[in-house]
Assembly symmetry: D2
Homo-oligomer: 384 residues x 4
C-alpha cells in the first residue's frame, strides 16, 4: 500500500522556467550567439514534453523520476523522419534504436529520455503512442524501433519501483510543445545529479551564419555525471575550489560513479546522416570543457538530427536533398561545442536542493558561491 | 473482452524436439562436426528457456509470439559476466544493451529475444528478474542494461496487442535449462517466417580442435527473413525451384520485407572481447551460404560470447585471463560459419503450417519436396 | 645486378580478356542480369588501369606483381569526388584513406590496389599524380588522403624487393580506360591466389530496375584468399571434390593463410554515404556464397561508391542531391551479392598456371574438371 | 638543382629539450601527478626517435619536416606486439594500419608520424626496417601493416617536394631511445602549427594508483590544429585575449583549416584491446579542455597501447593475460585527459618563430605574454 504524501505530475512548466536564473543570468560567460530562447526549441519545429513524477512513499521510499520527449518535427514526427547520427563516448548506458539510426541515417520518431530501469516502459509507451496516433506507413508497417535513452537516478529515486509506466511516455509525447523549456528537476532529469550537485535537464542554442544562410544548433542534455572536483565552469576550476570548501554541501548517500549524460543535438542546417554524426561527436568537446573524464560508470551517449530535408524524411522516391559541403561545417561544430558546454551548466544552475529516496539529499549549487569563485578568477561578466 | 479459445504456455519442450526431424535427419549435408546435441547448449553452462504464447482472440485476432532467454552461464549469469561482441549486418532491428557490450567487452546477464513491440516488456521483465534474484553487485549497483533483441511477427501475431508482459520474460529466465533445445514455433520464434515458410528458433553446434584443446561453438537463431527465391540449402537453389513450383504453398498475407534474423553465438574457447566480435561478424558468411541478401527490412543483428574467463567475468581485480592468439582462431571462424548455416536450416525444417492473426496462414516447408530437390542436385546424403 | 630474363609492362589488355573464357562462358550459372560487359566499367564513367610487372631475377627471385587503378569518374576523379562507404569484414589488411571516407562520406580520387609491401610506393605515386595533374582545390589544398589497398603476393612475388615504384601507380592512373577489363594475373592481381589456385582480378556487373529507373552495380575484386576445400561454385562443393582428387594440382610452397580479398563496388544509383556503406557490407554475403570463412590471415576490405550526385562531388554549396529511399534499396543489395559472387569466380576462372618467386608454382583451375564437377551436381548450364 | 643553404638532421635531441622551459616551468597549472620525465617515455620500454629535416632550397622553397618513431617496447617492438585501440574524432587524416589494430586488438610494430605527403615513404621505410631487422615471424610472415600517421605541414614545408624518404623512417626507428623527449619543431612535428602559433611535438605523463599498483600514462602529440581565438590554457581564454591583441604576431600565409592532431597514448596498465580503445577516446576530452572544436579540416586521430601482457604480445598460445576490471579504469581516464591537455600545451610552449616555405613565417607563442594573461585570471602558479 502506498501512503500518498505528495504527488505531482508536471507538463513542461515554462512559467517556472522563466523565473529561475540561468547560467548566463548569473554572469557566467559563454562563447557564441544563442538563439532567442537559448534552447533546443530555437530549432524550428522541435518540441519538448516533460512528465515529472515526484511522490513520497512509505518506508522512506521516494519517487523522483520522469520522462522527457523531444519531437524533432513536433506532431509530424510520427510520419516524417529526420536525418540523424549518434555517438557513444562511453557506452555505459542505453540508447535504443541506434542500430537503425546508424544503418538508415534516419531517426524515426522522437527522442525519449528516462531513468535506467524505465527504458522498457517508455519503449512500450512510445510504440503504443505511435500505434494510437495513426495507421501504418506506406509499406504497411508501423515504425517500431524507438530511440529511448537513460541515466541512472537510483540515488534519489526508488528506481526498482518501476514507477514510470508506458502512459507517462505517451503523456510526455502528447504534451510536447515549442517555446521555453523547463530545466533542472523535470522530466527524465528529475532525479539526476552532476558533480555531486542536483542537476537534470539543461538546454542551450547557438545561431551561426554559413554563406548567406543562418542556421541554429540546439542542445538539450539530461545531465547526471561527474565527481565534484572535476567541475570547470567557463574554464574556472570551480570543483577544486568547492572540494576544498567545507561550506559547500555535498550529496549525502549518492554514488557519483553511476552517473551519465545524454546529449541531444538538433539543427535546421541541411546535413547528410554522416554529417549529423559529426555533430554528435563534437558534443564530447563541449563536455570536455566542463571537466568531464567520462568515468567508467558514465553512459555518455549523444544523438544529433537535422530537421531539413523533409521530403527525404517522408521517404519520397524523387526527394531532392540539400546538404552543406563538409568544408562549410566548421561553424556548426563550434556551435555544437559551445551549446553543449552551456546546456550542461544550465542544468547545473537549475538544480535545487532535493531530498529523495531513503533520505538521500543532494544540494543545488549555491549561485552566490559560484559567482564568487568566478569573480576570484576574473571570469564573472557582471556584478550581482 | 477476450474469448479464450486456446491458450498454451510452453517451457522448453524437449520431448517435442526429439520427435521432429532436424535438417540432417532429412539427409541435408553440412560441413564440420557437431556437438552431442547439435545445439547451443553443447557449450557447457549455456541454458535456454522458451515461453510460447499461442492464443486465438475474438475478431480473428491471434497471439503467436513469445520470449526466448539464453543464459550464458545458466543461473550464474546474474552475477558472472561473459566476454562478448556484437555485429550489425543490417541494423533494421533492435538489440538493446549493445553500447555497453561494445564499450566494456562484457555481456552482463542473458540474451533475450522476442517480437519487435515487446522489447519494452522484456526489458523491464529482465531487470525485474535481476532485482528479484539477488542484491546489487559489489559496487552497490544492479546491472540494468539488458540485451533484448527482436524480430517482427506482425504477420502471424497481433503485435499491437502487446501480449508479451514482463512476467513472461521472467518465466523464460526461470525455466532456462541445458539439454536439447526446442526449435521452430517456440519462444521468441513462435510467429516467425523464413523464405515465406514457417520458421522460428533453430540451433546447431560444432566441435573443433586447436592445439591440444577441443572447443565448441554453439549457434541459436531467431530466423524470420528472406524471399522465397533466395533460399539455398546446402548450396542447392531450392528457393528458385519452389518459386517456379505451383504445388509449393506460399505464405498468404505475409510481408517478407519486414523480416529479420537474430544470431547468437556461444563458445567455450577463451577469447577476448574483440575476438568474440570477430565470431559475430562471421555469422554473415553462414547467412550468405543460405542465399540471404540482408534486404532493407531485415534486422540482422548478431551477438557472440565466450564462457571462458570466469574470474574476469566476476570482475576480480587480479583475474588471470586466457585467450587464443588470433593466429589460432580460423577453426573457430569455420565452425561459426558452419553452425550458422545449419541452425538456419534447422529453424526452417522445424517450421509447421500455422494459421495466425487475421487468418494469415504460413506453410511449413514440405520435407519430401525439399529432399527431392536436393536429390535432383545430387546433394541428398541418404535415401528417405 | 639484375639479369633481365623477361619484362612485361601491360596496360589494360582488353584483347587478351576477350579471348579467355569467363565463368559464365563455361556454363556456370549465376543469378541476375549482368550489364553489357559484365564488368565494373558497365557503371558509366568508371575506368580501370592495370600495370603488370612480370620479371625473373637472378637467384630464382621473381617479380609477379603490379598496380590496378580504378577511377570512379575517369579523369574527372581528380577533382570531382564520389559518395562512398567502406567495410572491414576482417581487418587483416590495409586500405588507406578510410578514416576520411568514413568521416566525410566521400572518396576523393581513385581506388588503388597493389601488394602489401607496395602500399607506400603507390600512396606516394597517387599523390604525385594528383599534384602533377592540376592545381590545388578551391581551398588551396591538394587532396592527399588516397585510398590504397593491398593483398599479399609474397608466395609468387619477391615482395621484399619493393619492385612497385611510385611511377607504376602513376602509369596505372594514366592508362585507365573504360571498356572490357582484363582479369586474372594483371595489375594488383598479378601474383594472387584463391583457394590454392592462381587467381587475381575479377569483375562482374548487374543491372536492376527501381521504379522507372535502371541502375547498374559493378564489382571488381583483387582476390587472394581461401583454402582449397572451402571453394563453392554456384553452390556446388567444388573445393571438397578437388581436395579429394589427386589429379588436381595444388599450389607448391604457397601459404593460403596470408591471403585476402579487396572488393570494389561501383554504382550509378543515387545513394547517400551511409547507403553506399550498406552496399559494402553486402559484399560479405557474396563472398559467403563462395564458401569463404574470412580466415584470420585474410584482409577482407570492401569499398563502395556511387557516381551520382556530381555537383555534391564538386563541393558546391547549393548542390542538389538525390538519393533512393532506403525502402527501395533491396534490389541493389541483391545485385551487389550476385555481382560479388560472380566477380570472384571470374577471377578464379581467369587464373593460369604460374611459376614465380623461388620456384613456387600455382596452377590455374582446370576448366574441364570444374565443368565436370558442376555437371555431377546438375548445375552446369550448357554442354561443353 | 638544390642550393644547400643549411641542412640539419637531428636525432632525439635531449640536451636542447632540457634547456627550454616547458609549460609547467612557466607556471601554467595542470591537474594530476606527472612521471619523472613528464613524457611518454615514463612508460617503461617506450622509446622515441626524431629525424628532423630543415633545409632551404632555391626559389624560396624550404624543407621543414621529419619523422617521429615511437616504439612501444623499444627494439623488441619488431617481434613483440602491444594491445592497442584507436579512435577517430575527426577522420580528416591518415593513420594506416588501423583496420588490423581494430580487428586483432594489437599494434604490431611502431607508431610513425610524418607529414601528409610522406605517408608512403614512411610506410615503405617502416616495412624495409622490419625486413632488415630480422626474419619472418613464426608463421613465416613479416608483419607489414605498419601504423603511419600524419599532419599537414604544407604551410612551412615544401610538402610536394616529397623530401622525406624511406631511409628517414629507418633512421628514426634506429635512433629511438628512452629518456627526455625533444619537443616542438622536431621529427614529424617540425613544420607544425597550433592556434596559429608554431607548434609540433609535445609530451606529458601521469602516474596514478589503482589498488596496490602504480600505473603510468604517457601521451605524445604531433599538434597542428586550431584557430587562434579557440585557445584555452588551463581554462583561461588565452586565444580570445591574443586575438584582440595587436601585439601578438600571427602566422603569415598559414591556413589553419588544414591542420590536425595525432595523439599517442601509452600505458603500462594491463588492459585488453577494447579497454585501451577507451583510453583513446578520452583524448578527445583533453583536447576539448584546450578549446578544440575539431574543425572540418583537422584530422584528429588517436592511438593508445598497453605495454603489459608481453607473452600475449608474442602470440604464445598459453599466454596468461592480466587486465584491470573496467570498474577500476576511471583513474586511467583522468590521467589520459590530464596528460593530453598538458602535452598539447607543451607542444605550443616549445614552439619558436620559424620562417619556412615561400617565406611563410609562424611565431612561437610569447611566454611572457602567456604568463601575463594567466596572471590576469589568477591562474599563474608562480611568479616569473
Amino acid at each position: 500500500m502506498r501512503i500518498l504524501l505528495a504527488i505531482t505530475l508536471f507538463a513542461a512548466c515554462t512559467a517556472a522556467a522563466s523565473d529561475a536564473p540561468r547560467a548566463r543570468d548569473l554572469g557566467i560567460p559563454f562563447d557564441g550567439t544563442p538563439g532567442e530562447l537559448n534552447a533546443i526549441t530555437d530549432v524550428a519545429g522541435v518540441t519538448v514534453g516533460h512528465v515529472t513524477l515526484i511522490e513520497d512513499l512509505e518506508d522512506n521510499k521516494a519517487v523522483r523520476t520522469g520522462v522527457t520527449a523531444i519531437l524533432p518535427r513536433g506532431p509530424a514526427s510520427k510520419s516524417v523522419n529526420v536525418m540523424a547520427g549518434w555517438f557513444s563516448l562511453n557506452g555505459n548506458g542505453e540508447m535504443t534504436g541506434t542500430a537503425w539510426v546508424e544503418e538508415s541515417g534516419f531517426l524515426e520518431g522522437p527522442v525519449m529520455m528516462t531513468n535506467t530501469h524505465s527504458i522498457g516502459a517508455v519503449h512500450e509507451g512510445t510504440i503504443r503512442w505511435r500505434v494510437a496516433q495513426s495507421g501504418p506507413d506506406h509499406t504497411g508497417y508501423f515504425w517500431s524501433l524507438p530511440l529511448v535513452a537513460e541515466t541512472w537516478d537510483g540515488d534519489l529515486n526508488d528506481i526498482n519501483g518501476f514507477h514510470v509506466r508506458p502512459e507517462h511516455a505517451m503523456q510526455a509525447l502528447d504534451k510536447a510543445q515549442g517555446g521555453p523549456v523547463a530545466e533542472g528537476a523535470v522530466g527524465g532529469g528529475t532525479g539526476m545529479i552532476c558533480y555531486e550537485f542536483k542537476c537534470g535537464i539543461g538546454t542551450s542554442s547557438r545561431v551561426t551564419t554559413i554563406g548567406d544562410a543562418e542556421y541554429t544548433i540546439g542542445v538539450l542534455v539530461q545531465a547526471n555525471f561527474g565527481k565534484r572536483d572535476l567541475l570547470r565552469v567557463a574554464g574556472v576550476p570551480v570543483g577544486q575550489r568547492l572540494a576544498d570548501d567545507s561550506s559547500a554541501e555535498r550529496a549525502a548517500g549518492a554514488t557519483p560513479e553511476h552517473n551519465s549524460i545524454i546529449i541531444v543535438i538538433a539543427t535546421d542546417a541541411p546535413l547528410l546522416p554522416n554529417q549529423v554524426k559529426r555533430l554528435a561527436r563534437r558534443a564530447a568537446l563541449g563536455l570536455g570543457r566542463n571537466g568531464s573524464i567520462a568515468s567508467n560508470g558514465s553512459g555518455d551517449l549523444f544523438i544529433a538530427f537535422s530537421t531539413a530535408n523533409e521530403a527525404a524524411g517522408r521517404g519520397e522516391i524523387d526527394a531532392t536533398i540539400s546538404a552543406l559541403p563538409n568544408d562549410e561545417m566548421t561553424p556548426l561544430f563550434r556551435a555544437t561545442v559551445e551549446a553543449t558546454e552551456e546546456a550542461i551548466i544550465n542544468a547545473l544552475v537549475a538544480g535545487r536542493d532535493m531530498r529523495g529516496h531513503l533520505g538521500t539529499t543532494v544540494p543545488g549549487i549555491d549561485h552566490r558561491r559560484l559567482q564568487q569563485i568566478l569573480r576570484d578568477y576574473n571570469r564573472l561578466q557582471k556584478g550581482d
